[in-house]
Symmetry: C2
């Protein structure tokens, strides 16, 4: 049988509850579609940090590198600063494994209520393709005159031609595969006048290679407004690291699905493992209660299957999620039900 090696990192908070349900459904899909998942479990988390002073061992990335994919829950816990937890585990994976694509589908699923009035599933179905390694999340910056009146900090955004071109290429190729064949670029070249005009230049240049794709671009401020007012305008949206971060939280919010939104951190060349994680975080407020919605985790598992070449299995999992939501299957509190995390996982595993 085909075999895929998966590193599993539940991480913190509800990640520990949603990851097992993700695995339950992946396991069901593996049995049904005849492939094997070889799992390695890693307990790396903020607890590891409390015990060892590190989020993961020094050779952590090396250990992960032996896998085809990483299946992640959530990282972060009160008491451990974000720059320790996230920059000690999540961000290094994105960077060192050159997962330069962050893919975040935003869909209004049948049976889910959008906060927008009068919107139907066919109105909200787009994908945010976010650059995931450079841009505004840079490691270049500093502070001067600390503790004085003239104290200031700087941080440099860095956009390379290679970095822009490859994420745009991915977005154009993705748009080619979708029926509407449309790609929107998020910019802010009227205000951010060194980096964003370059982004626009590269977008115009890359567009030449895809004459069949309809393109447009909006400044990120009005683009956010359009997500609310005209979500039906969008098909694929390509954005820088920061703008993609914002748009891929806003997109699920307008689709009423912030609790079920999946994400993929992809290295398209497969030089390194890709990583799959829900958009939501570790949710300390509901952690440990067994009430977290596992759908984001399970849907992220579907994205992983697709990346691993198990397209049929991926479609079956997505289909199972759609049916469960549309047909009034068990749902957690965030979707107005009172089912537990495990109930939803089991229900999905059964029908996959």
């Amino acid at each position: 049988a085909r075999k895929h090696r998966i590193a599993v990192i539940p991480g913190d908070g509800i990640g520990k509850e949603t990851t097992p349900e993700g695995l339950r459904v992946l396991d069901a899909a593996a049995r049904r579609f005849g492939f094997e998942l070889e799992l390695t479990h890693y307990g790396w988390s903020c607890e590891t940090y409390a015990q060892t002073g590190k989020m993961m061992p020094d050779d952590g990335l090396e250990q992960l590198r032996a896998h085809d994919s990483v299946f992640l829950g959530a990282v972060g816990w009160p008491g451990v600063p974000d720059n320790v937890s996230l920059w000690g585990l999540l961000i290094p994976m994105r960077r060192d494994f050159d997962q330069y694509i962050s893919l975040r589908p935003c869909r209004l699923m049948p049976g889910v209520r959008s906060p927008l009035a009068d919107r139907m599933p066919e109105d909200i179905d787009f994908v945010v393709v976010r650059e995931n390694t450079e841009g505004e999340y840079s490691s270049s910056g500093g502070r001067m005159f600390r503790g004085t009146e003239r104290e200031f900090v700087t941080q440099e955004s860095v956009f390379t031609r290679q970095g822009c071109d490859r994420v745009m290429k991915y977005a154009f190729e993705l748009a080619m595969k979708r029926p509407r064949k449309k790609l929107t670029s998020a910019t802010k070249s009227n205000g951010i006048t060194f980096t964003m005009p370059f982004w626009d230049e590269r977008f115009a240049e890359m567009a030449k290679g895809y004459p069949d794709i309809k393109t447009d671009q909006f400044h990120v401020d009005i683009l956010c407004a359009h997500f609310v007012q005209h979500p039906d305008w969008f098909d694929v949206v390509v954005a820088s690291n920061l703008f993609g971060d914002i748009l891929s939280d806003l997109g699920p919010a307008v689709a009423g699905s912030i609790g079920i939104a999946p994400s993929a951190n992809i290295n398209p060349e497969r030089n390194h493992p890709s990583m799959f994680e829900p958009v939501h975080g570790s949710a300390p407020d509901i952690a440990g209660k067994g009430i977290a919605n596992p759908i984001a985790q399970i849907w992220s598992g579907a994205l992983m299957l697709e990346h691993l070449g198990e397209a049929e299995a991926a479609a079956a999992v997505t289909q199972a999620i759609e049916s469960l939501l549309a047909e009034g299957g068990p749902r957690t509190r965030d979707l107005g039900g009172n089912a537990g995390t495990v109930d939803v996982g089991k229900a999905l595993a059964e029908v996959v």
Copy 2:
């Protein structure tokens, strides 16, 4: 009678249609409340640029400096790059006049439909206080290896202690004047790790001086989601230049009022004129047709009156707008009516 000197710059596109209506209402307010407006008209626009190669004369800012306030329509026209039009007229005013506060009220007005389901006017009533002179809109950056594979661009965000403290102080003082006394800070310190942790530090420090204000903070990605899902959570929101730009387009969008949203660019020390302009742009698609909504311009006029110390007149103009919207007065196409720009202006001037 009290006299205020106003520089009027209609600018481009619909700015030429909305500014006269703004003046019509201001004039009515002046007569009713017994003050005088001494107007100087400036035709500076993209047409000026076509004729002279400049958006305004070399001593343009000097000319404006002799006024108490600037009343602006909109700047920008197809064919003139944004970095010429905006950076030749709008941005220099914000910078040189040290208008470090951009104030943008977001309210669901009675009679206006929000794109959000089931939201009432009392659910959406907050103000975005945007830093308006530094941060991500910097003039420090550059490009290397132009035209080659290793080409890259950089742009430096710059946050000074002085810059952070003064905008936060303004926001805290504003929150003190509002019944809910709540201030939310927009951050992204988990991803943008040099500048935004400093922003958080300054916010925590400034908060010590305002023990009566309830504070919270959200990363800008989830904050955008909350604007859609829980707009009722917010009272005053303080944000950097870029985050404030995004939030103050998203806020009016959720309030269904992108066409009526006003803004004030304020120099609180009154060393230089402040500037008042609608949030919308020059709207080339509908320019010249007499159908643009003048309410954003007129509401910006109300913010100007307040800044000039004419609080009663300001309240009367805002009240007139509220009544017109609530009581089904003439409305332009964007609000589902078929009145013209002038109709709305006249209706408001009559009742002010």
